[in-house]
Each structure stands twice: as structure tokens, then as C-alpha cells.
Symmetry: D2
């Protein structure tokens, strides 16, 4: 092994292209196999270990992805100096401990969503990575799908104009999770996507959460989040484990155009509608007499951009390698994970307050100030 | 005319079938022509007058529906003893005055939704009708569509089991109304339907309303209502004037089955899914340790009942005639209209309180007690 | 009335705008009421008569459209010198006799599809109109829908490139007609649309018809038409009275783009796909070795043009008035009706020949030469 | 070989469960990897070899499926007495030679669709298998999908009544194949499914094929097959490589109900419509005066059976093992493959005859008699 290190190290120093980075996947449950398969298939990575307390389970994953070393001892993996990074796909409540141990061992870290089970723990992870100059990446997989990448690009280019509202629906007959409610299970997807595509990121002023547990499972199975954004737009999320039909749809309304992302329509996932309401010659929000505002309607064309086909996780592992190689933050970094946690915690607080709105932005601002 | 009155009166006394009732339609704007057409086509009714301040407009409607007397003087219409009922299709803020005048003149009254522009005024209308023994009907048209009638029937028969959640979406690129917000414009549809189909009617515990006016029109154009129901279920409504796509969908989840009503799919408007989550051998809400609840999934068949085709308004005018003839309350009576107004007022209060939940049920209960 | 003639005539000579033309609608069955309503609503027309053997039926239509004279005597209507045109909405087998009588009486004529029940009779109608300098119009209503008008415009502008194939499906649970098969009942729609939008009109080389009468009704209830076109493209039509689902879809493939018209999707009726197969640097059909042809794929954007909303029949009656006023052939003239009949007759011949292809173009050409 | 048989036999006799059979997958191109993966995952099979002329390609597949021996020498594989069966996933023109060699070597054989590139060669394969008592299976994968298995079951149970028509559409932007036209590429799917689900199998009386090669590729890219069936129903297939939209839909109309299979709608793949046309009190096809037939309409419910989720190929490899173990013909045997080839050859003949119908059944009957 040492020989390999020397070789590997020197190879990486002089090589063009660089020798692949070595990664260990921690957790061989639901998501780990997907990570393992993509690291294995990537030219930027060498899959150095699949680590799970259940060694047999790790071995089954290794077999399925074309072979890889397996391990049941996390400490040994972290002690291996040839390993550059770890990808954590264990239950959320274990993210904090594993990530901190990995960062202490000098490893770059990628963590499955959500980043941690509390914002405070997520913040410790972010700070630990920052202080050591290591990359901490949130595996916000959806942000690397062709559809979301295109949405971000369109918004950046101003195709939608100013954002007026965002409405996201993510419902299906889902697994009632043993340890988290429907908000913590599903909403991280919608929140991380909003964080990725909106011009100012996920700038939530307050969160009103309305949940329902009609089956008496002890946690919300149906949930709604209403979130005024700093830009004046309203964001809303509907998550639901009890719906017999599956819907994955996000509508992003803008002053110029409105975009509909229907992720279950492979023939037309993203549609841009040049339809909308115009308030003629009245500047937004400042009409002296709003009743006098001259409303008109645009009924223009619809346009659906062609999307390339590629697996999102391939983009995730490539971005992790690039961020490490270029000593920069990845596109979905720990801060992005923190913004998602801020909203989730505000949602939990709102639930406890019978739906009363809870501030979300303040927390982030305070922390920013405290830094 | 007088001769006719005498004839008509006596005819009605002895006739089998009874002579048709005579109705005046008040207001020849958007909805009035539909009412006029259906009264004109109904064997139970004689269209006695189309009344509008703009006599030419009234005449155009009369021409289109095959002819009818027109009038621009409401007082004269109400003074006509041959007229049995009036159907009011004027702006909401005028419902109260016209309805009270008509009730005072001894006419039965049907009012376009919403019943009135405030709950207090609606209550006065209900009480005026009650004290005079006259019918006051809310024209909750959707309740007379084949789809909603079938939904009510299925729920009554227990096909869905206990209701777990109701989620309604009513969005499209809509007319920004000059005098009402999106809640008062669109949500009466969803609320009146829920009132009609839910076993206990619209029994809303509290209302949290989240609205957004991103274009600065002076009123909410995007709105969400979260409403815990007395039965423990959660009801939610999304109304939106700014959506380029049109959605009219209501999902009603039950312990046995879940129903999806997609009103824009004429080939399969109502689908009943025998899919769901079961909490095995644990009574609802009383599990000692909810984590231990044994969750299982049903993935059964889907079934879409055939629906007859008929125009809802034909059912509305028939029901009005039947209620008058049988001296009973119509299916959608003034009380139903009041329940809708209670929620709308609570929504307005919640909007003013930045989304904090506002009680809705208490008001209704207090009034019930005060009677 | 005579006074009116004098006034009307002179008014029309000097007036700007011209006095409306006067039309009689012949036949008050299924389609006549729609014609009557649109003539009644058009500023270019005065509805002079609704004529039906069943006078009561005529009166009911007159009532519904806001009033019009009615008649049960066709001869009297044709003898009325104030009537400029007749619109025939009677069973197809009576079109020929009524149209010839009307043309002889000097009336312009519009005929519901199909133009006649045989091509020979249709030809007599065309020649009678031509010899008298009168307008003969086929009421190919679909050609005046916003969707078809847009499709014609796009093809004219070259947006699709050369046409490669046309596939049309028109199926639903339909009325089994007493006197015509599914080809003569439904295919005139598809054929008249193709005639309207294709660059060279409906230039069908041969027709292979495959029909099936599985219920023993004595006529085809399921039918397919395969029709090589003069331009090298293939056109195909599927018509079906026995399908429980309704489909109205036409795909027009071109070298540059492909258009899909889904008439039952009001939110996106017409979609233009910039996707296709390219045969690189090989001129069409002349590759020395087709196996060597370099095939590549375009996976470009999709685009759905906004369509105005208007009733097609309003465009039909306007076009009839314009053609009369401008002494020109209407967009869908008798010749267009004849081209449709040529294909229908070839289809009937192919059916009798067990599906063997039958020439369609030759007939048209022969006639052209014979003229 | 004998030694192995004895061993294998005795081992299998006493084993519970029997020792897995050993299979070699021949061809590591498009389909081979799927076969390899499913054999590897099946308890009934041991993946004994992945054989491809390109050994690296074989190795890549072996890696991906969790490891398997690889080989580039077909003869060596066939000479291996421990191998019970081969699964052939090579180009169609090579099926015949490889299958005959394998059968001569005593191996059971499964062949990717189509069974062979001509019917005559397919027949040789069938006879070679029969004479040696070996299993010859056509890998008609679609027949093992949950949807098709359910359709077969419903038809067997009489849910549809007598079959009236079958209409299948399989269109998308497809690979223009170098050596086969669109009929031979895509229609085997539709034909094998019809063979599987129709009560009498694929009993085609004649075939009319209409093809179009508008891009000059040297082969049909757009194709239609009209096929009267022995039972009196009409079957029709539309296959198309040039459609920008993807459709996979089969409609099976019956006297009692009609079934629609929309394979691209995962939420409701199979729908059964209790709608249709009834010919009252007139026996099918024998009405003395069909015009007098009393037609009525049923507008009943729609029903969508729940479908289990499993990969079709898992069912394929299980069926192959079962057929071998039980010394019986598999559900999709060589004869089924021959019936598909009969229709494809008749289609090619019809194309050459400009679409004239060509007999298909006679060929099969002759052969049956000649046996």
C-alpha cells in the first residue's frame, strides 16, 4: 500500500491529467450504492472503500458496482492516508459525528441531504471544514440534473425577469420514515433546488409550516410550507407521503415569463411560458392607487428547451473532484446545506407554534455577523 | 298581464304538473346570461325578467336566450306580484341590499357566490329569509356538477373511509379583479365544494392564509389557505391568478381510498385509488408509541366512475324550484354560504396577522348559540 | 319587404361598410344550428331564413339564436330574390339536388362536408357554380380553427422543411351512422385539413383502405387509409367509432422540424419539435449506397405557438362573405371538396378490392385535362 | 458431456432446491448486458460465461454485473459440457448459425427477437430443437412485463369479450438501423405481444404493409401494417423512427370492454373501459338488414388494475429455467417466434407489391400440414 501512496502521490504531482482522487463511501444502505456506482464510473475518482458496519451489505454493493475494497471499521478508513475524501450516506443523525471525524482526519467530505439533523451541528461541520481548508459539500443531487441546471441558467440570463412566486409540489405514496417527518424527509429537495436556482439563494424571511398526522404516526405525513422571500416573492412547498398519485412539479413565476418544471414528463420536463399579467406603466409596488393599475395579459408562446441526458450523480462526483482540485467551494457547499437546515428548523418551530410564522433569515444573519 | 296573473295563479293551484315558477334574473354581466339561459330552458321556470341598469345589455342577453322581458328598474321587478323568485348575479358588494329588498318583497332568492361581501351581511340575509319563510339559496354551481355530486355520494357511502386530508389547487392566468383578492375570487369554489362533500360540512377549526402581491396590485394574487378541520383532517387550498398553466385538482385522502378530481381531464375526471398507507392494528391517534406503529402499503386498483353529462346550472335551477315547491332548504342554502364567508373572513384576518392562524369555527358556534 | 330590397341593394352599392348579405340556412338538424348562430352573430350577414321540413324544429333553432324567419318550403326560399346565399346542412345524399337548385336560382352556396355523396355529383356542383359565376364553398370547418390556420402558416413559412409524413388519428366512441361508414363520416376532416395545410394540397397518388366491421353493422367502424403523396411523403389516417378513448392528433414530420397537433390539449394544441433525423451530406433519395448514409440526430427545443381563441365557424361565414364580395374562390372551395371526394371514392374502391391500392390522382388529373 | 449430464442429473434429482443451471450469454452489445445481469441475479441460474468477439467488451459487462467468466471463442463455450443453455444477443442475421451450433452441442437456446432473419431459417431452428428435445425460446421480453401478463389474464378471463380490433402504435425518434427496416426493428414487439395475449395467438389472415422512406435511407422509416385476423378482428400496427414524440400504446377493443395499454404512463398503464357500442338483439354479422340493427352505447366505468413491479427479463430467465426443468415448451417458444416471422415476411412481400395484401396464415398452415 505504501508503495502505491508514493506512486500515487508522485503521479498526481506530475500527471496530466491528474491521478484520480480516492474516496470512501460510508454507508451501503439506500443511497450509498448510487454514490459508489458513480465514483466507480468516474475518471476523476478511485473508489477506495465501501464502508458499512454490515460488511456483507458493503460487499454486495461492491459486487454490483464492479468491485471495490470493503470495510466495516470507519476509524481504519479515516486513518488511511491514501484516502482523499469520504462520502457520507448514513442516517442524518450520524452525519455530524462522522463528518467531524473525517474532517479531523484531513478528509474532504460530502454529505447526503440533509447536511445534519440540527442547524447547530451543521454549523459546526461548516466551521470545522473552513478552519481546516477542506471541502464540505452537500449532496444536493437534484441541483445537478439537466433540468435544474437549465432552470438556473435561464433565471441567471433573466429569461423569467424578477421572480414573483415559487410553488413546489412533491407528493406520492411514500415511506413513512421512522425518525423524520415529511418536512425533513422531502422538503430538503425543494429547498436545495430553490437555493440553487434563485438569484439570491434561499433567502427566506419567515416560515409558516402546517402539518397533519391524520394516521397517528407521531409525525407529520402531509405538510405545507409558506415562505415569503427577501425579494418579495412567495415560496410555497407541498410535501405529502399519503398521495396515491405522484407529482413532482415546480412553478417559478416571473415578471417576464413563467417556468414549469414537471419532472415526471420526460418528453417536456421544462416549459417556459411567455404568458403573464402586466401592470402597465406602474412601477411594482409603488402605485399610488393600486385600483387604478392597468392590468393587461400576455398570451405568448411556450418554449421547452432540449435537455441533455446525464445522471445527476455523475455531475455531483465531478463537482466534488473539481472543488477539491481547484481549492474552491463546490456549487452546493456546506453553507447551502445550512440554509436548508435554517428553514427546516424554522418549520419545526412553526409547527410547534400551531403554524405561526417563524423567522428564518434572522438566524442566518446573526451567524453571519457573529463570524 | 293582470289576466295572466290570475290565470297563472289559479293554474298553479290546480295544475299537475304545477305551472312554472316565475323568476327574474338580476344582473346581465358575466354570470347572468348563464342563469337566464338555464331558467329559460327549464320546464320548472318561466323567465319573467332580465333586469340590468343597462337595458341594452339586458336585451342582448334576452335575444341570445330566445327572448324574455327586460327591465332596468329593480323596484318595479320586485313589485311585480307574479314574480316568485329572483336570481342575483350582480357584484358581491350589492348582494346584501338586493337580497334584503327582494326578501322584503316576498321573493325567494338565489345569490351568486359569495353570498355577501361580509359574513355579518350574509347573516342578515339568512335571518331575513328564515323569518319570512322564504328560500335563500347560494348558487354554489360546482356542487351540481356530475363530478361533485358523485364525490359526495362516494364519501357518503364510505368508499373513502375517514377523511385524512383535502388538497385543492385552482390556478390559472386569471383576471386580476378590481375589488376582491384571489381568496375571495376563487376560494369560494373550493370551500363550497368541501362544504358539500365532507361528512360534517365545512367544519374549519382555524385558517392560516398566506398571500402574495408580487405585482403591486394592492391585493393578493397568489394565495394559500391551511385549515385544520374538526375531524382531524387538514384541508388546504392553493389559488393563483398568475399561473400560466391551468390546474383544477382536488385530492381527498381517506383511510380506505383516495380520490383525485381532475376537472380538466374530461376523459377521467374522478379517479378513486385503492392505494394508501395502513397503520396496522393501531387505532388512529392513540398509539402508545407511534414509532412502533406498523406501517404497511396498499397498492390496489384504480377506478374511475362513469359520470353523466349535464350542465350544472340546470341542476341549480331545478333545485331552487324544488326547494320552493317542497318548502325546504336547498342543498346549498344560505347557511352553506355563511360557512364559506366565515372561512374567507378568517382568511382575511390571518392575512392581516402575517399568516397567524385565526379561529373560524368559534364564530359559527357563537352565532348558533346566539340564535 | 320589397322596399327593403331596393334599399338594401342601393345601400350595398354605395355603402361603407356594405349592407350585410342575406343567407338561408337549409337544415335545422345537428349542424344547422351552429351555422345559424354564426350567421346571426356576424356583421357581414343577415340570417334571412332557417329552412327545415320540420317547421317546429326550425323555430326552436330560431329561438335559440335570437330569432330569425323560418320556412319549411325550400322552393319559396330559393325564389326569394333578397336572399344572396344558402348554407346547406342536410344529409350528404341531398347536397347535390339542393345545391344545384340553389345555384340555378342564382344563390351562392356553402355545403357542409362532404361536398356530395359521390365525386361525380360534386363535380356537377362545381361546374354549375363555375358556369354561373357563383361561389361554391365547402364548409371544411376545421380549416378555420386557430390551430389549423397556424399549421398552414408554419408550413408555408418553411418551418417544417419538406414534408416527410403525415399521420392523423381521429378516434372515439362515435355514433354509428345509418348511411355512411367511418371513412365517409370522419376522414373528410383529416383529408380537408391535409388539403388545406400541405403545400401542394391533397395530392394523393393512391389509396389503400383497410376497414373492419366487427359488430356486423354492415359498414366499416374501424378504418385505416394509407396514402402515398405526390411529394414522396406518406399520409395515413386512422378513424374509429369504437374507441373508448378520444384522440384527435395529427403529426406532420418534416426535414427541418416536426409538428404535433393535439386538439384535445387546450393548453398546448400545437407543438413544433426541432428534433429529427438528418442524413448528412447525402441528397435525399439519391445516395449511391444508402447504407453508407450518415445518420445523425437533432434533439432541439420544442416550441408551442400561442393561438388566438375564436370560433372556427365565425371564420367560415366571414370567408364566405369575403369570397362573394371579392368575386373570388373561397379558401375551401368546391375543388377542395372534390379532392376530398376523390380520396373517399378511391378508399371505397380499395375496400372493395380487399385493401389493394387504388389510384386517386389520376381521376383528378383526367378531369383537369377534360375541362 | 455425458459425465456432466450424469452429475448434473443426479445432483438435480436430489437437490432441494436444484442446483442452478449454467448459461452463457452470447453477445455483449446492447441487449447482452441486460441478459447477463438478470441471469447473474437469478437463483435458478449461474452465469457461466459472457462471450463476445471483443473480449474487453465482454469483460466490461462482466464487471458491471458483479463478475463472470468471459470468453471470445464461441466454439469453446459450446464445447463446455457444464453449460446447459445459451442466450443469444447478437445481430439477427447471425442467430441461425449460432443457434444451430448450440443446439447441435446439446444446449438449450434462447434467442433475442426476432428469432431469425428469415422464416425459413427460423423454421430450421425450431425443427433442430424439436428433433433434439431441447428448449428453444424466443426472448419476447415484453410478454413478461406485468402489464402484458395482466392483459393476457384479462382476455383469458373474458373481461373484454370477443376481440373486435387491436391497434398498436410504437413511435419515437429511433435509431435508423443499418440492416433492417422499421418493420423488422420495431414490429416484432407488437406482433409478439399480440401473439401472447390474443386467444388464438397471432392468427393473421393477410398483411398489407405501407412503408415510407422519405429521407432516402434505403429502407422504410415509417410503416403501417393492416392485418385482418382469423377471428374477424382487424389488427393494425404503426411503427415509426421519425416521430419526435414517443408513443407506446395498444388498444384492444372487445364486445364487452376495451383495454388501453399506455406503457409510458407509469401511474396507469392498463385501463379497462366499460364503454362501447352494442348491437342490440342482433347476432354478430348475421343481421338480415344491418341498417335496422339497433345500436346502443354503454358509458360505464373505467378500471385500472394494480400491477406488480418487476423486471420483465427476470421473468424471462425464470421461464427459461422452468421450461428446461419441466421439459416443456416455454411460454414464448420458437413457434411464437415463427409466427412473428411469418407476418414480417408477408409484410416485406406486401411492401414489394406496393401495399397489396399478402397471405400470412397459409404459410403457417402449410408448414403445420407438412410436419
Amino acid at each position: 500500500m505504501e508503495g502505491r501512496i508514493a506512486d500515487g502521490g508522485s503521479a498526481r504531482d506530475r500527471a496530466v491529467p491528474p491521478a484520480p482522487l480516492r474516496v470512501a463511501v460510508i454507508g451501503a444502505g439506500y443511497w450509498g450504492p448510487n454514490l459508489a456506482r458513480n465514483f466507480r464510473a468516474s475518471a476523476a475518482w478511485e473508489l477506495a472503500s465501501i464502508c458499512d458496519l454490515d460488511l456483507e451489505r458493503a460487499q454486495r454493493v461492491a459486487d454490483r458496482v464492479g468491485g471495490a475494497p470493503v470495510d466495516s471499521d470507519l476509524a481504519a478508513v479515516l486513518a488511511d492516508p491514501t484516502i482523499d475524501a469520504v462520502a457520507i450516506a448514513t442516517p442524518a443523525r450520524t452525519h455530524h459525528a462522522i463528518a467531524l471525524a473525517a474532517l479531523e482526519a484531513g478528509k474532504h467530505v460530502m454529505v447526503e441531504k440533509p447536511l445534519a439533523d440540527t442547524r447547530a451541528r451543521g454549523l459546526e461541520m461548516v466551521e470545522a471544514a473552513r478552519s481546516r481548508g477542506l471541502v464540505l459539500m452537500a449532496d444536493h443531487t437534484y441541483c445537478y440534473t439537466p433540468a435544474v441546471l437549465k432552470i438556473r441558467e435561464l433565471i441567471e440570463q433573466g429569461v423569467l425577469g424578477d421572480i414573483l412566486f415559487v410553488d413546489s409540489v412533491r407528493i406520492n405514496l411514500g415511506l413513512v420514515q421512522p425518525d423524520v417527518d415529511v418536512f425533513w424527509d422531502l422538503a430538503p429537495h425543494d429547498l436545495s433546488i430553490m437555493d440553487f436556482v434563485l438569484p439570491g439563494g434561499l433567502d427566506v424571511v419567515s416560515v409558516s409550516a402546517h402539518g397533519s398526522d391524520p394516521l397517528g404516526t407521531g409525525k407529520s405525513c402531509v405538510g405545507y410550507l409558506a415562505m415569503p422571500l427577501g425579494c418579495g416573492a412567495m415560496a410555497h412547498i407541498h410535501v405529502n407521503w399519503l398521495s396515491p398519485t405522484k407529482i413532482r412539479q415546480m412553478v417559478i413565476g416571473g415578471t417576464e415569463r413563467t417556468l414549469v418544471w414537471d419532472d415526471l414528463n420526460p418528453q417536456q420536463r421544462v416549459s417556459v411560458y411567455d404568458r403573464g399579467v402586466d401592470i402597465a406603466s406602474v412601477s411594482r409596488g409603488t402605485a399610488p392607487d393600486p385600483r387604478a393599475a392597468r392590468v393587461s395579459y400576455r398570451l405568448g408562446d411556450t418554449w421547452a428547451p432540449a435537455l441533455p441526458e446525464h445522471e445527476a450523480l455523475a455531475g455531483v462526483v465531478t463537482e466534488l473532484a473539481a472543488a477539491i482540485g481547484e481549492h474552491r467551494a463546490p456549487r452546493t457547499d456546506g453553507e447551502a446545506g445550512l440554509r436548508v437546515l435554517s428553514v427546516l428548523e424554522a418549520a419545526t418551530a412553526s409547527l410547534a407554534a400551531a403554524g405561526a410564522p417563524q423567522p428564518a433569515r434572522e438566524r442566518a444573519l446573526e451567524e453571519g455577523a457573529a463570524r
